[in-house]
């Protein structure tokens, strides 16, 4: 799909997604399907739209609700075409593996879930280990899944020490050199990144994806 210009009816689907109108999106999906378009190609068109949503979000032309809507519309498109929309654990042919969780003491998951849906939309194999995850559990899951990247989220300031404890636990378990660590959410910035000993931080979900792309393709 990259590099190819879209046909008019494909562009209509992209436009409907960028208008964030589910009825219009489903109508366009149906129209493409009736015209004999391959379902996988239709999903790819939706992914193109989702990429555009991510880029416009990064340049502050779109805002969080619209980013969530984009992810939801991608799911609606997949559902309408009969594809499963759950997290494809250990997906075949995935670009790389990312382990995601909200750290101990924090149960916020909106940011984590947005990162998850963007990573999945970009072809990564993502394992979501939930919220309020203690350092020891991160270590266990890193041992089990052997991810390329560990993503730690947290909205509250209590998350700073939990993130640090998690990185320290990875060091203690001898796993730190085997993974890249990215942190994000709420008040996380470069200072926090340095404090916890992460490799990078992402101010937005789209940034997190860009960083993963840089690390693991």
């Amino acid at each position: 799909m990259p590099g190819r210009s879209l046909a008019a009816e494909e562009q209509a689907l992209v436009d409907a997604i960028l208008e964030f109108d589910e009825d219009a999106v489903l109508e366009q999906v149906q129209r493409l399907r009736s015209g004999g378009k391959d379902p996988l190609q239709i999903v790819e068109v939706a992914r193109v739209a989702m990429d555009e949503v991510g880029q416009r979000f990064q340049t502050k032309q779109l805002f969080l609700t619209e980013l969530i809507m984009g992810g939801e519309l991608l799911k609606s498109t997949m559902r309408a075409l009969g594809f499963a929309t759950g997290t494809p654990a250990r997906a075949e042919g995935a670009k790389g593996k990312v382990l995601l969780g909200t750290v101990a003491g924090d149960i916020h998951d909106i940011g984590k879930n947005i990162v998850l849906s963007l990573l999945v939309a970009n072809g990564y194999d993502v394992v979501d280990i939930g919220v309020d995850v203690p350092a020891g559990r991160f270590v266990e899951e890193v041992r089990r899944y052997r991810p390329d990247v560990v993503g730690m989220c947290g909205l509250l300031t209590v998350a700073f020490d939990s993130m640090k404890a998690t990185v320290d636990a990875l060091v203690g378990a001898g796993l730190r050199d085997e993974v890249k660590v990215i942190v994000g959410g709420g008040a996380v910035d470069q200072k926090v990144c340095d404090y916890v000993g992460a490799d990078a931080w992402g101010p937005t979900a789209a940034d997190a994806v860009a960083i993963c792309r840089k690390w693991i393709g």
């Binding site: 805002f63 149960i107 008040a187 200072k191």
Partner: protein
């Protein structure tokens, strides 16, 4: 010369005000001195000076004597500073009281958030309030309480809530928020008795602390909370992802607007009654979801009811403290639609917005506070705090209408030396 001056100074009405001015200046210059000088008069002067300073900044009627340095929004910093758990702070009134006053004594802020009002653990547990996850009960004892976000209004119930209104909320939604409302018979009666008992304990502790604050020179102007309808909907009724899906669909989009409109008069009445009961002028207006909306969405779903709410509170003689979480730079211009008679009775608490841009947009329309990054307060050094304060003061101090404060109040995990650095900075550089 001196012989001539002394009798003049000894005339009634001259020496006392001068002495008072000298004392006030002394107290204002040294954040620690007032604690050691003692005396009720000294403390009431301190209280009056703090109140005047804060109100001058908020109303922008004149430059205050110096930039107020304040504690801002919700926080459990007193618990962390005093070495008790957040759970203890919320459930144990004696420990909470000691922690609160220790923090007030050691950090002489011009006004701080009344954290003692957060000690509702026992009341919330007696009532079975499940909207909040409480430390020690549902989550780690050292974490702040957090909203438990689930869809208490289900996808297929939109028509019911719009048609049924208050009756549906009372009969269906409230029992999903508060276990006690789902109980019947003896269990309900026993539960209500426990709630009344715990509530009276809570109120007795809170009113005791408020009375004691005055004697200790601790100034606080914030009392009640007021969440705008959209936030009530997305924190209590629907999760943000579900509400976002609602906004993608024609029919539910209309329901969202209608429900916000219909809830607003009720919410205003309830919040006003609570605010008046506290006897305090400031009302804490958290906007937790505004940041997620585009200007077009904000204008459609959020602003109309928030605007009504702000006007109603100011008309009732109250001061909305507008804490807009995350980056809301793209929405701040809406506040300029309010007339100055309203905005000069409000405070804009800037979290992660571009405060310098916000300052330009508001252009003297409304007082501003906040913005020292929480990361700087928690993992930075006193020098980092000072450097950030330098930037803030250069742009925001001139002309008044500004109060120094961390982004969303003093974060729970703030390093005490950083809070001291912020206070010291205001004392040393804040004079007008």
């Amino acid at each position: 010369m001196l012989e001539k001056l002394v009798p003049v100074l000894q005339k009634p009405g001259i020496i006392d005000p001068l002495l008072r001015m000298a004392r006030s200046a002394n107290a204002m210059l040294d954040p620690n001195k007032w604690r050691h000088r003692g005396g009720k008069a000294m403390r009431s002067e301190l209280l009056a000076a703090r109140e005047r300073r804060v109100m001058d900044a908020i109303t922008m009627r004149r430059e205050p004597d110096r930039v107020p340095v304040i504690g801002g929004g919700v926080n459990f910093f007193p618990a962390k500073y005093a070495g008790i758990s957040v759970a203890d702070f919320m459930f144990d009134p004696a420990k909470m009281r000691r922690a609160y006053f220790k923090t007030c004594e050691d950090f002489p802020l011009d006004t701080s958030f009344p954290s003692f009002l957060l000690a509702v653990g026992r009341v919330a547990t007696a009532a079975g309030i499940n909207v909040l996850k409480l430390p020690g009960r549902d989550i780690d004892a050292n974490s702040s309480y957090q909203f438990s976000e689930v869809d208490r209004l289900r996808d297929d119930e939109w028509p019911s809530i719009v048609q049924g209104g208050v009756q549906f909320v009372m009969g269906t939604i409230l029992p999903r928020m508060v276990d006690l409302f789902a109980a019947r018979g003896v269990a309900r009666l026993a539960g209500e008795t426990r709630v009344v008992l715990e509530l009276s304990r809570f109120l007795s502790t809170a009113t005791g602390i408020m009375a004691e604050m005055e004697g200790r020179g601790v100034y606080n102007f914030l009392g009640a909370f007021a969440f705008p309808p959209f936030d009530v909907m997305s924190l209590v009724f629907r999760t943000l992802p579900s509400l976002t899906r609602d906004l993608m669909r024609g029919q539910t989009r209309e329901y969202v607007v209608e429900l916000c409109d219909r809830m607003n008069p009720w919410l205003i009445q309830i919040y006003l009654a609570i605010a008046k009961a506290t006897g305090l002028p400031g009302v804490f207006f958290p906007s937790e979801r505004a940041f997620s909306l585009s200007p077009r969405q904000f204008e459609q779903y959020y602003w109309p009811t928030l605007r009504q709410m702000i006007v109603a509170f100011v008309d009732a003689g109250l001061i909305p403290f507008l804490e807009w979480e995350a980056d809301t730079t793209h929405l701040v211009h809406f506040l300029k639609e309010l007339p100055r008679r309203i905005t000069r009775r409000c405070v804009f608490n800037c979290d992660a917005s571009d405060i310098f841009e916000v300052h330009k947009i508001l252009d003297g329309h409304m007082a501003i506070t906040g913005n020292i990054p929480l990361s700087t307060m928690c993992v930075g050094t006193p020098r980092d705090v000072e450097k950030y304060c330098d930037k803030l003061f250069e742009a925001l101090k001139p002309g008044g209408g500004y109060m120094l404060c961390p982004a969303l109040g003093i974060p729970d995990e703030a390093r005490p030396e950083n809070v001291h650095a912020m206070i010291r900075y205001a004392w040393e550089h804040g004079r007008y």
